[in-house]
Amino acid sequence: MIRFENVVKRYGDFEALRGVSLEVAQGQVVVLLGPSGCGKTTLLRTVNRLVEPSEGTVYLGGEDVRRLKPEELRRGIGYVIQSIGLFPHMSVLENVLVVPRLLGWERSRREARAREMLRLVGLEPAVFASRYPRELSGGQAQRVGLARALAADPAVLLMDEPFGAVDPPTRERLQDEFLRLQADLKKTVLFVTHDLEEAVKLADRICLMNHGKVEQYDEPETLLRDPKTPFVREFIGPSRTLLRLSRIPLKGLIEPLNGKVPAASVPLSAMAREAFSVLLAQGARSVAVTDEQGRAVGQVRLETLLRVASED
């Protein structure tokens, strides 16, 4: 869906991008990860031509992005930024309506769509439509930002550290909702973050960048298990074992209960990491796994978790 071909961007003598080639498959979430100044935001902004590459080509749906007028190109791409960038003088509804208005949709269609989008991101239109950005919490504002980006139903979403400015609990909730939405919407998403944990949680594939180059482009499991360069190893650091557990669903690790049910429990839908945290906190050797009704359906033992974590 998106293809970067040997993209170079220079600012004077400084090379922000030093020949990046990358392909993003349709419906995938690709996270551009790396330290600040690694070129990830610059790369993202070449897609909607907020940055024009010095060399190389960016293809969107097989077509060179330079063949479209920048405005038309951008109206077809959802764009969410860290500072959200809601227009402070427009109500929530007007903010969500911006792109449909630019596209010249008729009034009834765009308003219906905007309300639908607000509902989709969990904001009741009757309550929020007429509010102003000043009256929203950080999390609510970020949801409006997402609704605005989705309003014209773009196939591609560009998200530049969208959850960077909210507090950790809100961020986790927004991440969960993003995953839930993405499961339905199947957008092609290019997502910039410097937060390894966020990347591991959200990505279908991670592109780890440093100094304007791609260090490794792999699925999160592979990146964590098999770092290809010293930089990748260092960036992932000692938490990689724990992070790998956060990609492994509990489902495959459950053993039958043999008589007594452990005191601590985790839900069936959880990842291995959650069970591991509970075990550490309780000092227990096994934890019960409960289904949606709260019944214990099995257990996970500490040894099992240790084994899968160290597997190569």
């Binding site: 038309e72 077809g76 930024i81 402070p88 003088h89 911006v98 000043r134």
Partner: protein, 434 residues
């Protein structure tokens, strides 16, 4: 009853000043408008009213909520009635030419009233714009001010007073309109690109030119222009100049502006004069073949005055436009670009609305400033309210000066209040205010 510690300190100070002023002379009785007079206090002639005023001042600092603005209104009314009564008492039996001029106590009480309205407790503040004008209106309608010298002097001019006030407002508003037409685009240019930073220093420099010097410079130029150039020619030159500068703009914006500059000045001269004649008391005459002088472009009079005022009003407009656009959050701009707005759409839908409250502040500043300095226009025969000030200064009659000065202050305050109100409404409408 509130304890002393909880008293409103500003109201307390105002009350102190108000009480003190009751001990001073309020009215100076002069045998005629030029001779020195003797100051007269209020207690001898109107002890009852004076005592009521004193009681009011004593009570004021203890009040809160609606009682405070209500009493303040009554004090304002009392101030007018007391001054009028004392003046009336004094003038009884005196000759026609005797004048009851205003003395220290009268002015000091005005100061006390002003401080008390500024220092109103927060819950009472919103009633002040209602009770104070109402009190002044009642005083005006009941004729309390009528025996006072400035009113007597002003009344002698009758119709001319209204005419000069009209002329004054016409000059000030034409100048501000011109400053907006030129200043907002210049401010936008300066905010867009650092190359146009000189726009800011230029408008700052214009304000440093003394108005008298500017009039002196403009006099021969405008006189000659008015004599020798016809209206049709001037319009042709302006049109051609603007077209040329538009052409040059494509290759070099700075060069385009260099051409636009003298043409713009000519347009300002012509535009200001025509605008003034359109809204002012003089009839608007437009004949293409006649020299410009027929349309009002002369070395003296409204033409140089409006031009100079337009140049002075430029600074607040340019600065506020520049600052307003610069204060637009970068994130809003980035989001606008990213969502596919063209630069024109970004300007009209995002940048200008977000900058508009600040631009409006600039317009307010320009209008208040211009209403004030339009008084100098009288020096070059453009008249306006400055005419009375000039007359008063020339004849040494201080009450005459007040005939011009007090309405100027009132107009400036009125314009200020009006634009503040509009600004508030604008902010509320843009959702930038709770």
């Amino acid at each position: 009853m509130l304890r002393l510690r909880e008293l409103n300190p500003v109201a307390l100070l105002a009350a102190g000043v108000g009480l003190l002023s009751l001990a001073l002379p309020w009215i100076t009785l002069k045998p005629n408008r030029l001779l020195e007079g003797t100051g007269v206090g209020v207690w001898g002639l109107e002890p009852g009213l004076a005592a009521a005023l004193a009681a009011g001042w004593l009570a004021l600092p203890w009040l809160r909520r609606a009682a405070y603005p209500l009493l303040l209104g009554l004090l304002t009314l009392g101030w007018a009635v007391l001054a009028g009564a004392v003046a009336g008492d004094l003038l009884e039996g005196e000759s026609e030419v005797a004048r009851a001029s205003l003395a220290a106590g009268f002015w000091l009480t005005l100061l006390a009233l002003y401080s008390a309205s500024v220092g109103a407790p927060p819950q009472a503040r919103r009633w002040i714009p209602l009770t104070l004008p109402l009190a002044l209106l009642v005083a005006l309608l009941t004729g309390s001010f009528r025996p006072l010298a400035p009113v007597v002097e002003g009344a002698a001019y009758g119709e001319q007073f209204g005419l000069e006030a009209w002329r004054h407002l016409a000059m000030a508003s034409s100048a501000v309109v011109q400053a907006l037409l030129v200043g907002i685009p210049l401010g936008v240019l300066a905010a867009r690109s650092a190359r146009f930073g000189w726009v800011l220093s230029l408008s700052g420099f214009l304000q440093t030119i003394p108005s008298l010097a500017l009039f002196g410079l403009l006099l021969p130029i405008l006189a000659q222009l008015g004599q020798e150039v016809s209206l049709g020619l001037a319009l042709g030159v302006i049109a051609a100049g603007l077209f040329l500068s538009r052409l040059l703009w494509a290759t070099s914006p700075s060069l385009g502006l260099v051409v636009a500059f003298p043409v713009g000045l000519l347009a300002l001269v012509l535009g200001g004069t025509l605008l003034f004649n359109l809204v002012g008391p003089e009839p608007l005459r437009l004949e293409l073949s006649q020299p410009l002088a027929a349309a009002g472009v002369r070395g003296i009079g409204a033409a140089p005055a409006v031009l100079a005022l337009s140049l002075y009003a430029l600074l607040p407009v340019v600065i506020s436009t520049y600052t307003g656009l610069r204060a637009v959050p970068e994130a809003a701009r980035d989001a606008g670009w990213g969502m596919g707005m063209s630069s024109r759409q970004l300007f009209w839908r995002v940048e200008l609305p977000l900058a508009s409250p600040l631009i409006l502040e600039g317009i307010r500043g320009a209008l208040v400033l211009t209403i004030g300095i339009t008084t100098v226009a009288a020096l070059i025969g453009a008249r306006g309210l400055g005419y009375f000030i000039l007359q008063g200064v020339q004849s040494g009659a201080s009450d005459m000066v007040l005939v011009g000065a007090l309405p100027v202050i009132a107009l400036a305050l009125l314009a200020d209040g009006l634009l503040r109100g509009i600004g508030l409404a604008l902010r509320r409408r843009l959702g930038l205010l709770a």
